[in-house]
């Protein structure tokens, strides 16, 4: 049976290519058409969302490995596939530099000394370093996680060749691999927390340079893991649907994954409320005005409710039920919905600042949708490439003994 998620899958490739073309077109059109703000807003949000999915996806594997979870089985391998988006994510980050003029509302504001931290060179320097570190460690982990699973073939070359050759190297005893894998996994998790906090502060929170929330960093990486799991579930569900029993993905695995997903849905909701209640109760305009603009005033108020409904209330109500968690089709829809919700949540956080607090209506529309689809196809292609490179991952195999 031939895998769906593969570069050899013509319809998929053509479709993705088309979407990307359209997206690029829209983006350029907007840049030219006098809405560079909007274009870059969409770009930034998509960069954040899709990178988060990739980073969160890999985190699943690392985390499960560290806690010695025994139920994950193939899910870990699938999670590792998301690392394929890392290079793209990194390039996309560099792309932000082009749009810096439109991306940082504080550029021409008096920051009362905050310039020390909020200035473009330093910001890009530290985030560059941060992402480099994060992805470096990610690949380090991937390398140790992946290599043992590979079945060496004579035609191996390139990356795969390197992987398999290393696999045969005598000094690389399984224990050694495990040990290294653990170390890299741990480092990746730590980097995940730190770097995503940094990204959250720099690319989201500081859009309103006078607003602070200490939880924002944690909120960012919890969110990332939340949608990372979402992405993973979708991927797994696709595998399950296309490969059936052969996918080696049991419904109990979906159940457990669903429970984890549910748990992080709650954590996200908790972090959302935890910030809201403290700021609402404190009633200090320096911080409350940020929330007021987004949650209590037009045009943003409806969006806030939409986000909370889509990203929390709906999944909360549905995921209590056990069976739903084990229904691939349903989970694909739900997770997609949640990812959209989180996309809108980014818009809610960033939008007002981008519109310089003067938006008459919520600045979102077809263009954003098209651009988003473009990014999605990027992700799809990355995954497809990875699957082709490592068919061991693309297809089910004898359950590993981690």
């Amino acid at each position: 049976m031939k895998p769906v998620l593969s570069l050899k899958n013509k319809p998929l490739i053509i479709g993705s290519a088309l979407l990307m073309a359209v997206a690029l077109g829209t983006f350029i059109l907007q840049l030219a058409g006098g809405h560079p703000q909007r274009a870059w807003q969409a770009y930034l949000i998509n960069f954040l969302v899709w990178s988060a999915i990739a980073q969160g996806g890999l985190l699943f594997s690392a985390l499960m490995h560290l806690v010695k979870a025994r139920w994950t089985g193939r899910l870990s391998s699938l999670a590792e596939a998301f690392a394929a988006f890392f290079p793209l994510s990194f390039l996309l980050f560099l792309g932000l530099f082009i749009g810096r003029e439109h991306i940082f509302p504080w550029l021409h504001e008096d920051l009362h000394g905050k310039e020390i931290w909020l200035n473009v060179p330093f910001l890009f320097a530290r985030d560059f370093a941060g992402l480099l570190l994060l992805y470096g460690l990610g690949f380090g982990y991937l390398y140790h996680a992946l290599t043992p699973k590979l079945r060496p073939g004579e035609t191996d070359s390139g990356i795969r060749g390197f992987f398999t050759r290393r696999r045969q190297a005598p000094e690389n005893t399984p224990e050694r691999w495990q040990q290294r894998k653990t170390v890299f996994g741990l480092l990746y998790i730590i980097a995940f927390a730190l770097v995503l906090s940094l990204i959250g502060f720099d690319l989201v929170m500081s859009m309103d340079p006078h607003w602070v929330s200490t939880l924002f960093g944690a909120y960012t990486f919890v969110k990332a893991f939340y949608i990372g799991l979402g992405g993973l579930i979708i991927l797994a569900a696709v595998m399950r649907l296309t490969q059936g029993e052969a996918s080696g993905l049991s419904s109990s695995q979906f159940h457990d994954l669903g429970k984890l997903f549910f748990a992080f849905c709650l954590v996200w909701g908790d972090f959302f409320y935890v910030q809201l209640v403290v700021i609402w109760y404190g009633n200090i305009p320096e911080e409350s005005s940020y929330v007021i603009e987004r949650v209590m005033r037009m045009p943003w108020q409806p969006l806030a409710w939409a986000v909370f409904t889509v990203a929390f209330i709906i999944p909360f109500v549905l995921l209590i039920n056990k069976n739903i968690k084990t229904r691939p089709v349903f989970m694909i829809v739900l997770c997609a919905l949640i990812i959209v919700g989180i996309w809108l949540e980014h818009l809610l956080l960033i939008g007002p600042a981008f519109a310089h607090h003067g938006a008459a209506a919520i600045p979102v529309g077809l263009s954003d949708a098209l651009i988003t689809l473009g990014f999605m196809s990027l992700m799809i292609l990355a995954l497809a490439y990875f699957m082709d490179l490592f068919p061991e991952i693309a297809m089910a195999q004898a359950p590993e003994t981690t």
């Binding site: 009362h112 006078h210 609402w280 109760y281 009633n283 200090i284 305009p285 320096e286 409350s288 005005s289 929330v291 007021i292 603009e293 209590m296 005033r297």
Partner: protein, 976 residues
């Protein structure tokens, strides 16, 4: 008289007549079985009287409930204080209710005190005086504090009976130097008064007229009349003295000159003035002598002598010459040495040069304290005091043993054969040495008359039933002198007759009016002053200052005056305005001085002068110049009751006991003082956590230009502490962009207070009024060290970190926020927002979680860590309208809600709304400078509403969105 005052004093006539003549009020103190006609239980009566806590003689209204006075406020009709009162005046109550007040006469028999009945005591006095009179002339002597003319006259007549000379008036602060200077420069042998309010520039050679000088409440009012921002202008005020008194702290420029070099500065100014062609109209001889005398005092010389920056002196001179109505004041209350004579003389002459007509000096209303005898005379009196010349010595409410240590007073009084009678109500150092103590009625209990100034007379009447069976001093003297058949049945009769004889009070009706109004303030002024002397004997010898040696300056305290206030708990508890130290007497020293002696703040040092030693903790401050040490007079009593005894130290013991040759006055400074560390530390009971604001927007200033000129558009509003706008505690104060909560309305009234920092001088009278009105507990030094002081209203004193000599005062009380953080966190609604915007605190509901206090950004909430005690009969002073709190509950400023409630009642009865200004919280009522205003923000016409429109208006920590109802107006600063 305005309506309010009439309401207050109505009915005084009848009851006081009743109290005075027939009915015995003391019967009606505790059980109101037969109340005087106009006494209604639960309704306060107001009696006009006169404050006798210092010679200034302010008029007071005593608030009496069920026959006992619970509060003393200024009499609005009285020209001296115009309704205001300093903290000492308010603390007079605590003398009356003092737990150690003597209630019966005491006779000392071989060292033991024995209680005597009044008839017995008076009999003894009669017998002794008669015997003395029989033994020859001049064998009965009287030493008294400054007293009214009537009592003086009575003393005179009595002493005639005893063939003895009239009484000798003793005041520790008798202004000898000023009197001498006045005699020389004005040809007036006395103490003229001044019209500060008419000046546009004040130069002050140390006169601490905001604390004790002549008539502080009056001069504080006048000072702010010229120095507060009005019509975009404010007068200038320069202070020249080695130490920063509260007065100096309020000056635009303080020149910390060498001790005793003030005269040189004044002469320098005279020179400048003459150079600039002033004083042409002066009599030629005077002008010539002035020119020659001031010739050597070039700016350089002055700068050198006084050790002050030359440019500052030049700027001062320029201002002085530019001023239209300058006024120069002399040296401090405790400035009476030779150098002070020079300084005062120079000041007077400078006044003559600048304003030959002396339009701002009032020769008609001279201060009564001028009747006090010079120190030299007093010392001489005691030197001569001996059984050979004197049999009976009557001491009327004076404490020379404390005030004149080292002058051998104790020995003098202790002489066998000399029968010493004291009329004091307390066992102070002097009374302890007496043979007979007659604790006569206190001012608020008896009849008398006192004119703080000439051409006005101010009455005293029983505002309460006497706590003791004591007669008034006058009655005692009458009976003692005239035995069985006194010319008058009692002193009240004597008083009334005398006043009507003088045509001051004619007939019963005028008498009642006299009592109601508190006196006659419109007496014909004395004849215009005699022509000013054309020649003035000028002999200036500025005292050379030995730079090496330390000089100790003893200054009278705004809290204790000459020490008589030291036994009033409130005065001990309310911290010193500048050091913020309560209960203790620290030694103020400049950082350099401390460094050169390897001392640190709060180290205990032994201070040794040629005349004595004492030990005290040092207080590091730039408020004294290097080489100078300062200490407040008043504490360090060896007797005088639990609150005074062994609290603090008495610097007087370090001073030369003998009077100065030139002025005949004492010298309140000692040179060649030695400091030796004891190695001990003494934690200072200070109430301030930090002396500076740490860059926070709390007590704000604005330069005159900014305040004056409206052209500058208001700064852009933001969300940070720096740029947060003024948000009124009204619906319009809410902005949906900023406020998560919807605005809320109030029922007709939204009470609010406006504090004009430009008017606040930091005197602390408001704090005292708050203690008195709201039954606030007194906790003592130890508790203050633990951080448990209870003041609902505190004066925050902040220094400018750039120049710590720049001081700003900020009265801080509950801000009655519209969004008060304290409220929501209480689990039982003990604090909540009232319909009229008040932040109510329900004591009965409070369970003491103290979360409200933790969450109050202003830290104005006070917790009852214990059940505070009011030793009997201090508890009689408690205000019946206010709950006395017990341990475990939170309390705080209520905007005097009892007064608001009362106003509601009155308004309802007359079915009308509460008028603007009708409600006066205690603090506002007593503020000598009118820095506080209270009213309804919802009334667009109200005073407060008008004031908050001022561009100086701001809220402390407004950026927290608490929307305080206490709105401050920035202090206006200017450079000289």
């Amino acid at each position: 008289m305005n309506r309010r005052t009439f309401l207050k004093t109505a009915g005084v006539g009848s009851v006081s007549v009743a109290a005075g003549c027939t009915s015995q009020p003391e019967k009606t103190i505790y059980a109101l079985v037969q109340a005087p006609d106009d006494t209604v239980t639960g309704k306060a009566l107001w009696y006009a009287s006169t404050c006798r806590e210092c010679p200034a003689g302010c008029g007071v209204l005593a608030r009496s409930r069920e026959g006992r006075v619970v509060k003393v406020e200024g009499n609005p009709l009285h020209p001296i204080n115009q309704g205001r009162l300093c903290m000492r005046g308010q603390a007079a109550l605590q003398a009356i209710y003092h737990p150690e007040r003597l209630d019966t006469p005491q006779l000392k028999e071989n060292g033991e005190w024995r209680a005597l009945s009044w008839p017995a005591a008076e009999g003894l006095l009669q017998e002794k005086t008669r015997a003395a009179a029989g033994a020859g002339a001049g064998r009965v002597r009287v030493l008294t504090e400054v007293i009214g003319e009537s009592l003086t006259a009575l003393f005179g007549e009595a002493l005639d009976q005893w063939q003895s000379p009239p009484p000798l008036v003793f005041e520790p602060f008798a202004y000898e130097a000023l009197k001498t200077a006045n005699r020389m420069a004005f040809g007036v042998d006395g103490l003229v008064s001044y019209h500060l309010d008419q000046a546009d520039l004040l130069v002050c050679l140390g006169a601490d007229f905001l604390e004790t000088w002549l008539s502080p409440v009056e001069y504080a009012r006048q000072f702010k009349a010229m120095h507060a921002l009005q019509a975009n202008r404010k007068g200038f005020f320069a202070h020249i003295a080695p130490c920063q008194s509260l007065t100096a702290a309020n000056a635009d420029l303080w020149l910390a000159c060498h001790p005793a070099s003030e005269g040189a500065v004044a002469l320098g100014l005279i020179r400048k003035a003459l150079e600039s062609g002033r004083g042409q109209s002066l009599p030629a001889p005077l002008r010539v002598s002035l020119t020659t005398a001031s010739a050597p005092y070039t700016p350089e010389k002055v700068a050198h002598l006084a050790d002050i920056p030359a440019d500052a002196f030049d700027r001062l001179a320029a201002r002085l010459l530019a001023a239209k109505a300058p006024l120069v004041l002399g040296t401090a209350t405790a400035g009476s040495g030779a150098a002070d004579v020079a300084a005062n003389l120079a000041a007077n002459l400078l006044n003559r040069v600048l304003d030959p007509e002396l339009t701002r000096i009032d020769f008609a209303h001279r201060h009564r304290v001028e009747t006090a005898a010079p120190r030299a005379e007093v010392l001489d009196f005691f030197k001569r005091l001996s059984p050979d010349t004197t049999d009976v010595l009557l001491l009327n409410n004076v404490n020379p043993v404390f005030a004149l240590p080292g002058a051998g007073i104790a020995e003098g009084l202790g002489q066998p054969g000399l029968f010493v009678v004291s009329t004091s109500n307390f066992m102070d150092e002097t009374t302890l040495l007496a043979d007979l103590v007659l604790p006569v009625r206190m001012p608020l209990e008896g009849w008398d008359e006192y004119g703080g100034k000439r051409a006005l007379i101010s009455g005293l009447q029983p505002a309460m039933g006497s706590l003791t069976a004591a007669p008034g001093l006058g009655d005692v003297i009458l009976r003692a002198a005239f035995g069985a058949d006194p010319p008058f049945p009692d002193y009240q009769g004597y008083l009334q007759a005398r006043l009507s004889a003088q045509g001051i009070v004619d007939g019963e009706r005028q008498w009642v009016e006299f009592l109601q109004r508190g006196g006659r303030f419109d007496l014909p002024a004395a004849p215009a002053r005699a022509p000013l002397p054309a020649e003035v004997p000028i002999a200036f010898e500025p005292v050379p200052v030995a730079a090496a040696s330390l000089v100790l300056v003893a200054a009278p305290s705004i809290r204790f005056f000459d020490g008589r206030g030291a036994n009033r708990p409130w005065l001990c508890e309310i911290p010193d305005p500048l050091t913020k130290v309560a209960w203790q007497t620290p030694l103020l020293a400049h950082p350099d001085t401390l460094a050169s002696h390897a001392l640190r703040h709060a180290d205990v040092v032994a201070v040794r002068s040629a005349h004595g030693t004492l030990e005290a903790p040092v207080y590091e401050t730039v408020g004294v110049r290097p080489g100078v040490l300062a200490m407040a007079i008043g504490q360090g009593h060896s007797a005088y009751g639990r609150y005074a005894q062994d609290e603090g130290v008495n610097p007087l013991g370090l001073l030369p006991p003998e009077a100065d040759a030139v002025s005949g006055g004492p010298v309140f400074a000692a040179g060649d003082v030695l400091l030796t560390p004891t190695g001990r530390q003494m934690p200072l009971a200070h109430t301030d956590g930090s002396r500076i604001q740490h860059g926070r927007k709390i007590a704000l200033t604005t330069p005159l230009q900014a305040a004056a000129h409206d052209d500058a558009h208001p700064p852009k509003a933001g969300l940070t502490m720096a740029d947060f706008p003024l948000t009124l505690p009204l619906p319009e104060g809410y902005d949906p962009k900023r406020d998560a909560y919807p605005p809320h309305d109030h029922a007709d009234y939204r009470w609010s207070m406006v504090v004009d920092l430009d008017r606040c001088i930091g005197c602390g009278a408001c704090s005292a009024a708050c203690y008195a009105e709201n039954n606030i507990g007194v906790v003592g030094a130890q508790r203050i060290l633990e951080g448990r002081e209870m003041a609902w209203l505190r004066i925050e004193r902040y220094l400018d970190p750039q120049d710590e000599r720049k001081v700003i005062f900020l009265p801080m009380m509950c801000q009655h926020c519209d969004n008060a953080p304290c409220e929501a966190v209480c689990p039982v609604y003990a604090p909540h927002h009232s319909k009229e915007g008040l932040n109510n605190q329900i004591y009965n509901r409070c369970i003491g979680t103290r979360f409200c206090s933790q969450n109050c950004p202003y830290k104005v909430r006070r917790f009852n860590w214990f059940t505070w005690q009011w030793p009997r009969p201090l508890n009689l002073q408690l205000n019946p309208d206010v709950t006395a709190r017990s341990k475990g509950v939170m309390e705080k400023c209520s905007f005097c809600i009892q007064r608001i409630k009362a106003a509601h009642g009155t308004a309802k009865n007359e079915n009308r709304g509460i008028r603007d200004g009708e409600i006066q919280p205690a603090c506002l009522q007593t503020c000598p400078t009118g820095a506080l205003s209270f009213g309804n923000l919802m009334d667009s016409q109200s005073r407060v509403r008008q004031m908050v429109m001022d561009r100086r208006a701001y809220q402390v920590m407004g950026y927290l969105n608490t929307k305080p109802a206490v709105i401050y107006l920035r202090k206006v600063v200017q450079e000289i």
